[in-house]
Every structure is written in structure tokens, then in C-alpha cells.
């Protein structure tokens, strides 16, 4: 049976209510859009870090989580991602939100140690550190159970241990003021990802090459090309 044949709420009454609410909402919203800093606030909420400052404490948070996990198999890859920050539904170009993503390999993602035990250990560990657990749930699927554990720190950084088809650790900065690309410094990865290696996926931030890879020159090997040495 179609949903339309199972209607309970009269459309006309619903519409009357919606018009009234829409009018009320629109009275607020236009100002939200016309003023990129928002209708009610003159400045965005303060953040503990700028974008450039946030990477180091976020990576430290990842390292600290990894240190609490025994028999750690190592992550397969690390990447730095961003998402826009919006106010009243409109993106604010002065702010960004960093998400550092560590991911286990597919075989390691299927191990009970990673899918179950680490969730329990991190729950205890983060709670012990005084972090606020903001999500802790499981989703039963036919062939697997997915899990989420999210902890929020006082400085606005949050940690999300996610178990899906892959498993991984995502560290989120909250909204931070955008920095110049040149001010963003390389921070080596943790959890067994080789700095500048194939799993260190931060190349978009360093167009001249990931610093760790640039610096990793074998001292006693002759250069492939003498162009810069002659």
C-alpha cells in the first residue's frame, strides 16, 4: 500500500501550520544569510587553534590513542581532509574543519581485536582522560556489526573510532580559522604509517613534495641526476 493511502494528517491543516512557521523562520533566516557572520553573533565562536596550529595536537591525540592499544597492527594509511564550516546553512570561507583520517588495512579491519576490543579499550581510556563520550553505538548488519565511539576534548578536538567495512580513527578539529597554505607544517603520521610513504596521503598540502619524503635521502647513494649538483 502506498504511503499516500495511509495518511493521517490533513494537508490543509498542516499547510496552515507550515505557513505560520515558515514565516517565523524566514524572519530569522534572511539575516543569517545576508550576514556571513550570522544574525545573532558578530563573531564566530572562538577556537583553541587556527588551522595551522591544529594539526600537531590532533596528530598527538591520534598518537596518544594508538599508545593505549595493545598488539597494534599498524594503520594502512593517513590522510588530511577538510570540510566547510557553515553558518545558517551558508558556508563561511574564513573557517574550515579538519578531519585527520587513519585507516586500518582491510584484513586488519576484520579482526575482532580491531572491531571490538579496541572500542572497549578506547572507551575506558578516553573516559579516564576526562573526555566526554558523545556517541557510543553499534549497528547490526547481516555480515558485520559496525561501531562508533566518539569522544570530545575540552579544546574542541574530537576523536571518532569508527568500525565499518574498514576500521579507523578520525580526529576532528571542529571549526578553526583558515590558515595560509604556506603556514601548514608537516606533522609525521603515527600508528606505523611511514612518513612520506605510500600510505601518507597528505601530498595535496605540500605541492613541492611531502617534506618527510624530500628529506629522506640515502646519504651514501649517488643521486640519480647530477643536474642540481654540478
Amino acid at each position: 500500500m502506498r504511503p499516500a493511502a495511509d495518511l493521517r494528517r490533513p494537508r490543509t491543516a498542516g499547510r496552515r501550520a507550515r505557513f505560520a512557521l515558515a514565516a517565523a523562520a524566514l524572519a530569522i533566516l534572511p539575516a543569517a544569510c545576508s550576514n556571513p557572520k550570522g544574525p545573532m553573533e558578530t563573531a564566530p565562536p572562538e577556537s583553541a587553534y587556527t588551522q595551522a596550529e591544529a594539526y600537531a595536537p590532533m596528530e598527538a591525540a591520534a598518537a596518544e590513542a594508538v599508545a593505549a592499544l595493545p598488539d597494534f597492527p599498524g594503520f594502512e594509511q593517513r590522510s588530511w581532509a577538510e570540510m566547510p564550516c557553515s553558518r545558517g546553512g551558508v558556508d563561511d570561507p574564513d573557517y574550515t574543519r579538519i578531519e585527520i583520517r587513519y585507516r586500518f588495512s582491510l584484513p586488519d579491519s576484520g579482526a575482532p581485536l580491531v572491531r571490538e576490543r579496541y572500542v572497549e579499550l578506547l572507551r575506558d581510556h578516553w573516559t579516564g582522560l576526562g573526555y566526554e563520550i558523545t556517541a557510543d553505538d553499534a549497528v547490526e548488519g547481516g555480515e558485520r556489526t559496525d561501531r562508533n565511539l566518539v569522544a570530545l576534548r575540552e579544546d574542541g578536538i574530537s576523536l571518532w573510532y569508527a568500525v565499518g567495512g574498514y576500521a579507523g580513527l578520525f580526529i576532528d578539529s571542529g571549526c578553526v580559522p583558515v590558515s595560509d597554505a604556506g603556514d601548514i607544517e608537516y606533522v609525521p603520521p603515527t600508528g606505523g604509517v611511514a612518513p612520506g610513504g605510500p600510505g601518507d596521503l597528505v601530498g595535496d598540502y605540500f605541492p613541492e613534495g611531502v617534506p618527510a619524503a624530500r628529506e629522506a635521502v640515502a646519504p651514501f647513494e649517488p643521486p640519480a641526476d647530477y643536474g642540481d649538483h654540478l
Binding site: 502506498r2 504511503p3 499516500a4 493511502a5 495518511l7 494528517r9 490533513p10 494537508r11 490543509t12 491543516a13 498542516g14 507550515r18 512557521l21 515558515a22 517565523a24 523562520a25 524566514l26 530569522i28 533566516l29 543569517a32 544569510c33 550570522g38 545573532m40 553573533e41 564566530p44 565562536p45 577556537s47 594509511q77 590522510s79 581532509a81 570540510m83 566547510p84 557553515s86 553558518r87 545558517g88 546553512g89 551558508v90 558556508d91 573557517y95 574543519r97 578531519e99 582491510l106 558523545t134 556517541a135 549497528v139 547490526e140 548488519g141 566518539v150 570530545l152 574530537s158 571518532w160 569508527a162 565499518g164 567495512g165 574498514y166 571542529g174 571549526c175 601530498g203 605541492p207 613534495g209
Partner: protein, 612 residues
Amino acid sequence: MSELTWEHLRDLDCGAVRSLGDSWQSYTEQQLVHPERLRADVVGGHLSVEHYESDTAATVRDQIDMTADRYEDDLSDYARTRVATTLFEAADALEKEQAELEELVPLIEAHGMAIEGDRHEYDVNLSGDLHRAILTLDPPQWLCDRCGVRKPDGFWDWDTLKVLFDGADLYGTAVGLAGQYQDWLRAVMSRAHDADDEAAAALTAMSEHPGELPPELGAAYDDLVDDYREALSQEVADEARAIAEGASDLSPEQVNQWWEGLSEAEREALAEEHPEWVGPVDGIPAAARDTANRALLDDRIGGLDSRIADKERALAGMDPGSDAYERAKEELDGLETDRRELSDLRGEITDRDGGPGTHGETGQPYHLLGFDTEGSGKAIVAIGDPDTADNVNAYVPGTGGGLAGSGAGLLDRARTMASDAQFYRPDEQTATVLWMGYDAPDDLIEATDDRWAREGAENLERFTRGVRATAEGEPANLTLTGHSYGSTAVGAAASGQGVEADNLVFVGSPGVGVDTASALGVDEGGVWASTNDEDMIQYAPVHGNAPVNEDFGAGTFTSDSPREASSPWRFWEGATENHGSYWDTDESATGPNTASRQNQAYIVTGQEAMVR
């Protein structure tokens, strides 16, 4: 303009239309034997060089060869692509709407309602009997059930009195249901008219533009044959231009057949000499479009550099206090904005060596499927290859979207969706498309008008049909994810033009233009909506019934409300700022929106059973 009434549609024998298409198809295959016989038996047989060696014989062989080619081309272009495919498409589209009608009309009749009005804007009204039944306090059982009252038994008892007091509610409920059926019927007929008009236009265009034939042998042959050969190569170019400029009536499926019918050399020549006729066209494979669009992007940026330099030189010779200077300065600013936005877009999809880039995290190549600087600007960028993917998710942004965001924030969201899809479904390939292919409203005042959605509907419809047409192997599981006003755009395309999609996902929707999922022309099981508890948009569904409402009939999924008000009395902060939080993007949002991202990834990758 289609003359189809709902009765015509109900009674139409779609099987007969499809059989006609089959006839043309088999006719094409039978006829292809003839040019082959001409080449083998005539040119390569008794008229071959071994038997006839002279200039005249060579000319005759050439002429026969050209005639055979022409015949083959016409069979392919007219009999198969235009006639047969048009008939198949029309039969499929009309049959789909006919099935909707077969479900809808009995519901209308069973509820004592009637279809009235013009075929282009049918009304569904309460019948006289139903009016009377309500007014005489004898409402039908279904209406009593909906309003939660017992049907009166004819005496002035408590139930009768309750019905009397609930009269307005009974009436409102009946009118509300009629309104929903009306939405549904109008959407069905709109899509049916669209299919009918498209088929008629394609068939008419065929008869209006017959192809040139090779010149007849005779005294003027030598003079005419060069013109013919030139016209032949021009024909491909003319057709490509007509398709790109929207002057052709070919559907994306037919465009794909046309493209596949070109020789490799013709395809390469078109992409190289006229990338503007290849890059934006739905129905041409993504790889070819990407190559053409990248060339086009380079050209456009180069052209802007020249224009900026010219404008700067002109400004240098002007009086800075003059009106002409102000105007020229304004133009220069516009050019520089376009240059910067296009350059940003190029930077996002290009690797360090200037080649096509890949999304590092998922390892998927970018495909540039279109861009434009007109209005707020447009950009269609795929992460992954939609032609080979198991799943395709097209993200349609809302208010404030444009080319500027496509070079950064909007593409960042699409990248997150791509990563999430891979994270939750690693055994399948999912291509994520940022579909900024319509001129979005700039602000929420403009967003109260649905014209932006209506104007973009045809583009979105063609995009979905293009994805279907260029699929290699099994068609992908295709999802359209509309955010905010983007959901209104998806709704307008789905109910008005019809989209080829398996799932429609509406997040933070202000309404999708219709009041029921039934009117969207896709399986209702694939219609999903989410609004978090704190999103202000739930209070402002200005484009129809909010799709999260139970009576809309969509599946709903959870989104967290990560944004909190900074103090209890600043109650509006959470509501206004949660309206972008489906990807954890609000300033001062507290933690990532795991539920929304996870649920969207499940839907997009065909794991709906895990949606919560």
C-alpha cells in the same frame, strides 16, 4: 505539446509501441545485409579491379561505396537510433507512468473522489457523493478511520455528535488526501507528457532533416563529389554542435548510440577540435568528457588571462575618476573572479605534474563532467568513474552553491561522501559526483522561489539518463542526494521531468515541491529523508510537505544535532546552525555527525538494511 489525457495513458498499449520499435530494429538488421552485399558482391566482385580497370570503373566503385556507407549511416542514425530507440524510450517511460496510474486511479475512485480539469493540470476533487456524505453526517468508513471517530449508525447518538463537531476535520482530511492524489496525478501526467513530447520531437526532427545522398553519376559528378565528402564530415560536426547546444532532440541514450556509432578518428577529432561539443554532453562517456573538459578549462583560463591583460592595459589609459573607469574596473573584477574560481577548480582535479588528479584517500580519479561561469557558476565533478562504478551518488548542493564552492568546500563534502562510501562498502566501487549543474539561489530569500529548481530540472534529468546510458555493464545503483535547496531541485526534476534514479536522499529539505513520495516517480522504498531535531529547516518547509513528515511516505534516517546553543537563552543558535551539520560542518558543532554520514553511506552503497 502533448495531447495525452489520463484516460489515453490508462488505455495505451505500450506493448504495441515497443513491438513497433522491435520491428524497426529487426528491419535495420535485415537491411544491413544490402550494403554488405554491395561491397562484397559488386565492388569487390563483378565490378572489382580485376574485371574493370578504368577511371570510370573506379568512380563507379567509389559511388557505390559511398551509397552503401550512406545507407548504413542512415539505418543506424534514423531507423535504429531515432525511430527504434525513441519508440523504446517512449514505451518504457509511458509504461512506468501507466503503472503509477493503475495504482492511483483506483485509490481516487475508492475514496469517492473524481479527476477533473484540463489534461495539463488535473484536479482531484471530492465527488458530490462524498460531499453529501460528510454534510449529512454519514462519512465513509475510511474517513472515520483516518479521523479516529466511529461511524455514526444513523441515530443522534454520541458518535453522530462527535462527527458533527469533527466535521471540519473530516472535510480537511478528505481535501488533504485529494490534494496528495492530485500532486501524484499531476506528476505522473507531467512526466508522461514530457515523454510524449520528446518522442514526437525526435520523430519530427528526423523527417525534417533528411540526410544528403551521394551525387548521381553523370557529367557533374566530379564537381559535386568533393562537396558531398566535405558535407559528410561537416554532418558529424553539425550534429555534435546541435546536440551540445540543445538544438537536437536526441535523448542521452540516443546521444550515446550516436557517439558509439562514430569512428575512433571522428571521436578524437571532435574532442580535439571542438571540446565544447563533447565535454558537457550527457550520454558521452565520462572519460571522453573529462579529456574534453580539461582542454576546455585550460582554454577558458588562457582566454581569461588575455582578456584580463587587455582590460588592465585599457584601464591604465583611463581617468580613474570616470564612470568608464568604474565600469571597466567592475568588468576586470568579474574576469579575475572567474579566473580564480576556474583555476581553483583546475587545482583540485589536477596532479602535481599537471595531469589528471586522483582523490588521494580513495585512490579514485577525478572526472570533470562540466563547468560554467554563468550566474553563480556550475561544476560537475566525479570522484571515480560513473561509467564503471557499482554505485553512483550525485550530491546536489543547495543555497549558496556555485563554481566558487566547487573549487573547495562543496568538493570537500563530496570527497567526504566518497571516503565514507569506500569506508562502509570497500568491496564495491562508488563514484561520487558533485553535481553543481544548476544555478542555485544565492540566499534564503531567493530560496523561497522554486524557479531555480524548475530551471535546473531538465539538466538533472539528462544527467541521470546519461549515467544510465554510458554505464558499462550493469547500470549503477544511482542515488541523488539533495541538500537543503538541492533537495528541492531533485524533487522538481523527479516529479516534473522524471529522473532515472534508484534512491533520492533529502537532507535538511525545505520541501521537494510535492507532498508525497509517490509523486516522485521512483520506488518509494528508495526515497529517504533526514532532518536533525535541531535543524531550523523543519520549521520552514516552504516548498511543500517536509519529506521527513510521516505522511510524506519517505524512509527516514537519523542525523545528530551536533550544534548546541552557546547559552540557554540563545535558543536559535542550534536551530539555524544545524542546517549544515549533516557533514559536521557547523561552526562550533560538537563532534562529527557520525549517524548522518554513516546512514548516507549505507543508502548510497545499497546497504539500506543498516540504516537507522
